[in-house]
Every structure is written in C-alpha cells, then in structure tokens.
C-alpha cells in the first residue's frame, strides 16, 4: 500500500481528529517556543526591561495595571466599532450607487482616490482641530482608514455578476431593487466579507492612530503614556492586548459569515478544491 491509499484507508474520524490536533498543536508549539526563546534570551543576555522586556515581565505589568485595563480596552473598542460600523453603513450603499450608475462612479472615484492616497496619519491632527478632541474625530479617523477597501471590494463583487445571470435577471423583469436584493448583493457576499475582514483590522489601526493624537483613554493612549514614562513592559502589554482585540474582532467577522452566509464560505471551499 502506498501512502495515499493508507491515508484513505484510515478511519475518517481518527484522521479528522489528527488533522484538528495538528491545526491546534502546531501553532501552539511554534508560538510557545518563540516565547520561551524570547524569555531565555532576555535573561541570558541581561537585556534591560526598557529595551526589551521578557514575556513574564509584560504579563506581570499587565496584572499590576489590571483594574485600569477594561476601561482602556472599552475605549478603543468603542472607536473601532463606531469607525467600522460607519464604514459599513456608508461603503455598501455607496458601492451600490457606484456599481449601478456610471455617472456616480465617475463623480466619486477621483475624490475617493485623493482621500485614499493621503496618509490618514497626516490628516488625524488636522481632523482634531476641525472636529475637536472628542470621540467624533477618533471615529472619523478609524472610519476613513477602514472605508476604502470595503467600498472597492463591494463594488468589485457587485460588478462580478456573470453576464448570463444578468440576462436571467432581465428575462424575469426584475426591478432595480429585486435585482439588487435577490441577485447582485447575494452574489457579492464573498467579496463583501473579504472587504469586511480587511476593514475590521484597519479600524483597529485607525483607532490606535487616533488615540495617539487625541485621547484620554484607550490602548493607544496607554502606549503613548507608558512609553513617555519609560514603562516599556506596559507598552508591550498594551500592544499584546491590541493584537488580541484585533484577532477576536476578525474572528467575529469570520464567524458572522459562517453562521449567516454558510454558502459563501462553502462556495469558496468548492472553488479551492
């Protein structure tokens, strides 16, 4: 028996268990050894904490800051969610308008290109002057960063309707909204989710950038504050929390797609096979 046959002959439940175990074990092992290496190197070479703190030191600092963390996480989350939410609410209708009307497309695209080619970090301080130091300017920065990729992928998805499907829609004499709701939007769902996955990660970046410029709470704020006092371990801790937040939010988007649009994920899998 060659390897292929043996793999097929294997009881499938055992095979699946082994594959799942591998899916979890391998990342855990690689991450764990990296942390151990880091910890060991810091102790071995006597690197001082304000240059590179050991993982244990970061954890220690996070625990010490404990009571202050939830407030800061909540502040960042608020900016992320508001920025992401606004970008969804604006990007999807705008994408529909662009995909349906060449006039709108021609009118809007140059504007989008200009705003998109401008680094948001450069705009953030100006926005603060215009909009004040409150939540509004932070939300705006997160929104501006997350918005564009979502818009582009939604437009692409709406325009990707195959020609035969467009003909089918016309044969059935669909109204504009029927065509949109029954045919073009569902067809664009995989593209929209691709855009949402990028947008959620970019919202986190936008939130941190905005907190660098103006905030009195949040994980970005925690980083600027702690580095100002050379508390590098705490800054690292805030970064770890930010990554965790990003991962969880990304996971929520993936989960939403799996739960509400299983065919979108399935179809991806079929296409890949």
């Amino acid at each position: 028996m060659d390897t292929m046959e043996r793999l097929i002959a294997q009881p499938s439940s055992l095979g699946r268990f082994w594959r799942t175990a591998q899916g979890i074990l391998i990342p855990v092992c690689s991450l764990g050894s990296l942390l151990l290496l880091w910890e060991g190197a810091v102790h071995l070479f006597g690197i001082r904490p304000f240059l590179l703190p050991a993982p244990s030191r970061i954890l220690q600092e996070l625990v010490a800051t404990g009571p202050h963390l939830p407030g800061n996480i909540a502040a960042t989350l608020l900016t992320v969610v508001l920025g992401f939410g606004t970008s969804v609410l604006i990007a999807i209708p705008l994408a529909v308008a662009i995909a349906s009307s060449p006039v709108v497309a021609r009118a809007v695209y140059p504007l989008l290109l200009i705003t998109q080619s401008t680094p948001m970090i450069a705009i953030a301080p100006i926005l603060v002057v215009i909009m004040g130091t409150g939540q509004l300017s932070r939300t705006t920065v997160a929104f501006l960063i997350a918005f564009f990729p979502l818009l582009i992928s939604t437009v692409t998805g709406l325009l990707a309707t195959p020609r035969e499907v467009v003909d089918l829609s016309r044969m059935m004499r669909t109204s504009f909204f029927q065509d949109l709701w029954m045919i073009r939007l569902p067809g664009a769902v995989p593209f929209i989710f691709a855009g949402l996955k990028v947008a959620i990660s970019l919202s986190v970046i936008g939130a941190v950038v905005s907190e660098f410029v103006t905030a009195n709470a949040g994980l970005g704020y925690l980083i600027t504050q702690s580095t100002a006092f050379f508390n590098v371990p705490l800054a690292f801790g805030a970064v770890v929390l930010l990554s965790a937040t990003g991962v969880v939010l990304f996971g929520l988007v993936v989960l939403t797609e799996r739960v509400f649009f299983p065919w979108s994920v399935e179809n991806d899998r079929i296409r890949r096979d």
Partner: protein, 265 residues
C-alpha cells in the same frame, strides 16, 4: 399549418458596433414564422447569429431593423409569454434547487403561494429531480442543473421556450438522454420551442423544422421539414428520413454532404 404564428420574425436585421467602430452584421433580413406547439431548431456555424436571434426574441437586445411579433402583438408586449434556457444552467448557488425554480415567481409576486410550490415540485418530479429540491446547485451534476434550469423556465408556464445550446456543455451520453427528456416534456406540455444547437443530428432528432443559417451576415439558407414519426426514440436515428434530412442540412452548410467532417451528436 394555417393558424396564425405564435412567433413571427419579419425581415429582422441586427448590427452590432464592434470595439474598433466597425459594424458587425449579425443577422440579415431574417424572416421566420413559428406556429403554436411547433419545435423549431436553428443550426449553423459559430458566429452566424443564432444567439442573437434568440436574444432579440427574448427582448434582451434592442432590435436594429425589422419586427418581431409574439401571438400577434409587438414583441415587447408578448414577452411575458417567453421563457429562456441558457447554455449554462445559471442557477443561483445560494438558493436551493426548489427556490431557484421558484425565483421567477418570487420576482413576479413576491411570495410564492402553496400552488406555486406544488407546481415547482411537480416540475422537478417530471424531470426526475424530485429528491433534489432541497439541495444546492453545486451538489448536482451538470445535466441535473440544466434540468433544474428548464424547470425554472417552465414555472411561469410560458407559451414559447427559447433554448440556446442548452446541452452544449454536457457530455455526449447525458446530452442524448437530455434530448429524449426534453421531447417528453414537450409532448407533455405542448410548448412552442425554438432550440439553438451546433449538432445537426440533435436538431433533426428533436424538431419539426430545422432552420439552417449561414454566417456573416447571418441569413437563413434553408428550412428543412423533418418527416420523422413521433414519438421519437433512438430508432428514429436509423430512419431513412433522418439520413435524408441530415444530408440536406449538411449540403446547405458545407456545400457538399460533408462526410469528411461530419459532426456527431
């Protein structure tokens, strides 16, 4: 037949503007009457305007010159009476087979009623897909998908069914099976069918008349009546009339009997 044609093409010409600005004449002065319940096949080499003709009948493209009448009325008014089956099944992959079949009903009146659902089930039963109403298109084979697409075209109970190489993407065996399947449906429902194909034997096996077209510009070269008895079966292909008809069609396409490059079903 003397009855008024259900479908009439009156000196229809169609020109498209190609990218470089030159004019492509897809159809030139095509006139054709199709009577109620008739099965008409259109054959011809690639690019001779077969799809164009169907798209014009279906109202998918604006017509350049001439007129199309459906049931005596200008084409634009009679369009609800027309159903179309495309070369690809074009089922929506996020809907189940039954929901795909019911899609035209949903478009027309919002929610399908119990009677519509029953009609969809009956159609799926008729084409042997009764068990598959709850499946998604990607779980079905190409031939099964195409059968579901035929059900979708039939759910509105159209008078005229337009089919543009509906079996072109299928393998030879499934294709033959689908031909007899289609004949069964046609005999049960008595639709008027206009059927475009590349395959001369397929056209002869199915239809009452075969319209032969020549390319650039697309013109009708010949209209061949098929005198094969119905219902037709595999045995029909060994009938002398089958041979005579295919030979005549080949001659009008290739200018000789085309034995060297005879296409197969």
């Amino acid at each position: 037949m003397v009855s008024t044609p259900i479908l009439a093409l009156d000196a229809v010409s169609q020109a498209y503007l190609s990218r470089d600005g030159s004019e492509v004449r897809a159809l030139d002065d095509v006139s054709l009457d199709v009577s109620v319940g008739e099965f008409v096949a259109i054959v011809g080499p690639s690019g001779c305007g077969k799809s164009t003709a169907l798209r014009l009948i279906a109202g998918l493209d604006p017509i350049t010159r001439g007129a199309i009448r459906i049931a005596g009325r200008p084409g634009a008014e009679g369009r609800d009476r027309v159903g179309m089956v495309f070369q690809k099944a074009t089922l929506l992959h996020w809907l189940t087979i039954e929901k795909n079949v019911l899609l035209p009903v949903r478009v027309r009146k919002g929610r399908p009623e119990a009677a519509d659902v029953a009609a969809a089930k009956a159609l799926l039963d008729m084409v042997g897909l009764g068990q598959f109403g709850g499946k998604h298109p990607q779980e079905l084979s190409g031939g099964m998908q195409q059968r579901a697409a035929i059900c979708r075209a039939l759910i509105q109970d159209p008078d005229i069914l337009l089919m543009d190489e509906p079996f072109g993407a299928l393998d030879a065996m499934t294709r033959e099976e689908m031909c007899f399947e289609l004949l069964r449906i046609w005999e049960a429902r008595r639709k008027t069918i206009v059927f475009v194909t590349h395959s001369i034997p397929e056209a002869v096996l199915l239809s009452d008349r075969v319209v032969v077209m020549t390319p650039r510009p697309g013109r009708i070269a010949d209209i061949v009546p098929i005198d094969l008895p119905r219902p037709r079966s595999v045995a029909s292909m060994h009938d002398r009339a089958f041979q005579t008809a295919t030979d005549r069609i080949r001659r009008s396409i290739y200018g000789h009997d085309g034995t060297a490059d005879r296409p197969t079903l």
